[in-house]
Structures are given as structure tokens and as C-alpha cells.
Amino acid sequence: MSIDTARLRGDFPILGREVNGHPLVYLDNAATTQKPRAVIDALTHYYENQNANIHRGIHALSIEATEAYEGVRAKAAGHIGATNPQDIVFTRNTTESINLVARAWGDANLGEGDEIVLSLMEHHSNIVPWQLLAARTGAVLRYAGIDAEGRLDLDSLRGLIGERTKLVSITHMSNVLGTINPIAEIAEMARPAGALLLVDGAQSAPHLPVDVTALGCDVFAFSAHKMLGPTGVGVLWARPGLLAEMEPFLGGGEMISIVKPEGSTWAEGPHKFEAGTPNIADVIAFGAALDYLQDLGMESVREHEKRITAYAIDALEGSGGITVHGPHDVEVRGGAVSFEVEGVHPHDISTIVDAYGVAIRAGHHCAQLLMRHLSVPATNRASFYIYNEEREVDALVAALDEAKRVFGYVESRTAV
């Protein structure tokens, strides 16, 4: 079933506003998405009707809030094809989910000379926690390369995975290139080596149908705010049994079983990793976001994005002086489209298109290793979601035409 953007846009209050005298054209969805009324209402509803601390009160509000919160654990599991909601931990964001694994699993399982395999297209959130872990343990980082089209070089990756590999941590979809990585194939490489496979799903869970069982990964991390939900909620899924093997992350209330002066025992399941009062309201509102996406159907979301991404790549490259990075085949890429405008720096582009109400991202996108690989200091990135329409791509292209006009032709240069 195809998505009816005209009807759906009415669900998003912010899409009605103007920016700099023009209708908002929001094309920064890889950074964060806008929120439908149902999510905003869920937040208000919780605070107006159910607000209470969870898992401890024996009163009606606490029981209702606990049920609502735990219900979202099941929805989050369902969204990624996980069988058991107790394998889902709520964190603050993808970054915290990855840091949790680096601490709670990494510190106990990595030692001097052990190897961590990453790729050059990783977001800083899937690089820096491992650099910190390497510094603590003496482990070594290895980086798989990418080919000229911006696809992960699987031969390079295969060559890096060996006896010393304890962990492979790879993004499911690049936040810069849009590249979708073949996780099931990578799992086939990691499994014989006995390495844990962590998948950074921050860009895939919002945009693709995901089934962690079919992917064959051990850990999958994603963020609510990139998929219609509120900020401040991340998800960590671990394959059945893995959470029980892991040490606690943060200590405090909620995560204990029995506390004695000489030591404590830990709560079961995900609660061991959810110390203190969690972000109850935002988790509950995230449930409304997951409902919204499930109602649309992730297959429909993916089809819509393939269509608008193909349209955008053609429109951008067809307008002259613009090069799109990453694969051009929408079967192997998502809707994060990075591009260069010949002779105009991305910050100048962003300033000019903003004046026309068009929100895109300019910068290194928290992927400095990739920027260095592409030999660019920064890129422009337009990224799409369920509510974006082809006319918004047209608005971007028209604003870019204006940027090209202001700058004329500027030979690309680096002062030497």
C-alpha cells in the first residue's frame, strides 16, 4: 500500500509552519524526524493522566504507568522482529546503547591484542566507544574499507576478521552515503570467528523492515527520535541470553535485586541495565510512534523512500554541477543523500537554502573517517522520510540553483 503523503502530512503539526517566509521543507530526517500529533498527545496524556514512578508503587497510577512503559518494550521488540521483550533495554539513544555494550560486555570480554572490527563509514558513536574500550583493555581497532561507489568492501572486511576478532560493529545503513550493508552476510563472517556482531540500526530501524533473527546479529541499537518518537529514548536489543551474561552498566535503584552492606545482586533481564527512574513519558510516547509506523507498514515506508530517493538523485544530478555520493541504486541504499555542489562549500549551501525554508544538513555528519576517505571536509545531506514529497525535492533543487547563481562558478580549491 503506498503512502498518501498529502493526508499524512496533516498528522504533523510542524509541517504547517513557515521558515523565512517559505513553507518548511524539512529534509534533515537522518538527524531527527518530526513528530506526529499522536506522539505529542501521548506525552501530554501521560503527564495529565498517568504520571507515576514505575515498578515500585502499589497504586493505580504506578500500575498503569508500568503497564504502558512495559508495553512499549513489546512494541519495540516487535518492530525489529525480536521474540522476547525482555531482551530490549531502554537507553537514552543509540550512542548510549553502544556505550553500554562497550562497558558491560567489552570490559569483561576484551584483552590485550584482541581485535575490534569496524568500517570507515561508521558514525562517531560506533567508533569512539570502541576507541575508549581499546584504551582500557589494550584491544586493537581494525577498519574495513569502502569501494568507489560507497559500498562496504566485503573482501576487506572478511580479511580483517580472524582468531583475535572479538567484536564486529557495523552500521546497518550509513547516515552519510545511505548505503545499506548486507548484515546477514557479515554475520556469516563473524559467527565462525566467535565474534560478537553489533549492528548500529539508528538509520535502518526507522526506514527498513528489520528482523534481527534473519539478520543474525547479536546486538542491535537504535533511537526513538529518528523514527517519529521523542528525544531521549534509545533501544538496545541483545540476542536471548546475552543480557544475563553481561555485567551491569550503571548502578542504582531499579537495577538491583537485594542490596546488602557487603554487596548486591542484580535485577533480572533488561532491568539490570535501567538504573534509576527511566524516561517513562518519552518511552510511552515512543509507543505511539511505533504504532504509527506499524499502521503504515515498514514495507510501505521503504517503498516510499525508494521512490523519493530515486527522484532526488535524478533531480540533483540532472540540475548540473552536483555530484551525489554513495550508491545510486535505491535497492541498496536508503534516503540519506549526500551531495557536493561544485565550487560551493556545504555551509554556504546550507545558509542559502535555509533562506528558502529548506532544512538540510551540512557538515561531517559525525563521520570524520568517511569524510577523510571521500577527501572532502564536509558534505550537504538531504534525508527523507514518510512525509516528504517530490515537490519538496523540487524546492531544494530550486534553492540550490540560487546558491549556484550567487557563487557563479568557483573552481574547487584548497589554499596551498
Binding site: V344, H345, P346, H347, D348, T351, I352, A355, Y356, G363, H364, Q368, M371, P377, A378, A398, A399, D401, E402, R405, V406, F407, G408, V410, E411, R413, T414, A415, V416
Partner: protein, 154 residues
């Protein structure tokens, strides 16, 4: 959208684009007495600056860098304005320039071409682009002879 938004003509004046396309004093000095480099980590703009000071006069400057038109043209214009000036005069121009961008002060005649960057004041997120080279110059002037320094992002 053929109509130009007036604010761009103000921001991207011809003199700015000219310095961006043909940066003055680009390169390095054989015998700098002061050096510094700096970056805006969020943007990726980078400037490396060589300064040669004789007595209290800045006799030569050269810069290397990459980044947006504002950051690079600002560096080019800065070197043109400050070369030949005393260190005290350079510091005074630095203050006037910062006032123009941060406090939207009326451009002082002493700024010369640098007045062209006053339009940046209307784009607060871009002010740091125009100020980067000046932060680097400030850091260079703070160093002892031949000691390089790296200021943090501005």
C-alpha cells in the same frame, strides 16, 4: 526562484567571493616567527597561519586552509589588512572586527575591506566562520617566537 534574496547580496558580496576564489597570501612563509592553527570542529573549517614579525611590525603573513567562503575569505582579507601593521594595530583591528560581527557595531573605517563581512552578523551561526582566522592570529601573537599553538574551536 530566479529572484535573488537581498540578504545574499549582503552576505556574499563580490569582494568576499573574490577573496574566496583568489585568496591573497595563501601558502607558507620560509621563516615565520609565529605560527598557529585552528579549526571549527563542527564545520571542519581549518586555518593554519604563519606570521613574521620584525620588531613590533607584522611584515609578512601566509595562511593555508579549507572551509566555507566566509572562513577562507575572512582569512585572506585579514592578511591583507594586517600585513605591515604593528602588533598593537592588529589587535585593535581584531577588536573592531569582532564588534562588527558580534555586537553588530557600525563598521569602523579602520577595517577597510573587512567591512564587507558585516553581513555575517545577520547569520549568527556563521559568525564563528568569519572569526576563526582572527582566533588563530590571536593565538599566534600569544606564542613566543617559533612556538606553534592550536587554539580550540571557536
Amino acid at each position: 526562484m530566479s529572484r535573488a534574496e537581498p540578504q545574499f547580496d549582503e552576505l556574499y558580496r563580490e569582494v568576499i567571493l573574490d577573496h574566496y576564489r583568489r585568496p591573497r597570501n595563501a601558502g607558507s612563509l620560509e621563516a615565520p616567527t609565529h605560527q598557529a592553527e585552528g579549526a571549527n570542529p563542527v564545520c571542519g573549517d581549518e586555518i593554519e597561519l604563519d606570521v613574521a614579525i620584525d620588531g613590533n611590525v607584522i611584515c609578512e603573513m601566509a595562511f593555508r586552509g579549507q572551509g566555507c567562503s566566509i572562513s577562507q575569505s575572512s582569512a585572506s582579507m585579514m592578511t591583507e589588512r594586517v600585513c605591515g601593521a604593528t602588533v598593537a594595530e592588529a589587535r585593535r583591528v581584531m577588536q573592531l572586527f569582532e564588534a562588527q560581527l558580534v555586537e553588530s557595531a557600525e563598521p569602523d573605517p579602520a577595517l577597510g575591506d573587512l567591512e564587507a563581512l558585516q553581513g555575517v552578523a545577520q547569520f549568527p551561526v556563521r559568525v564563528k566562520c568569519a572569526l576563526l582566522c582572527w582566533k588563530v592570529l590571536h593565538a599566534a601573537l600569544e606564542t613566543n617566537d617559533n612556538e606553534a599553538t592550536t587554539p580550540q574551536g571557536v
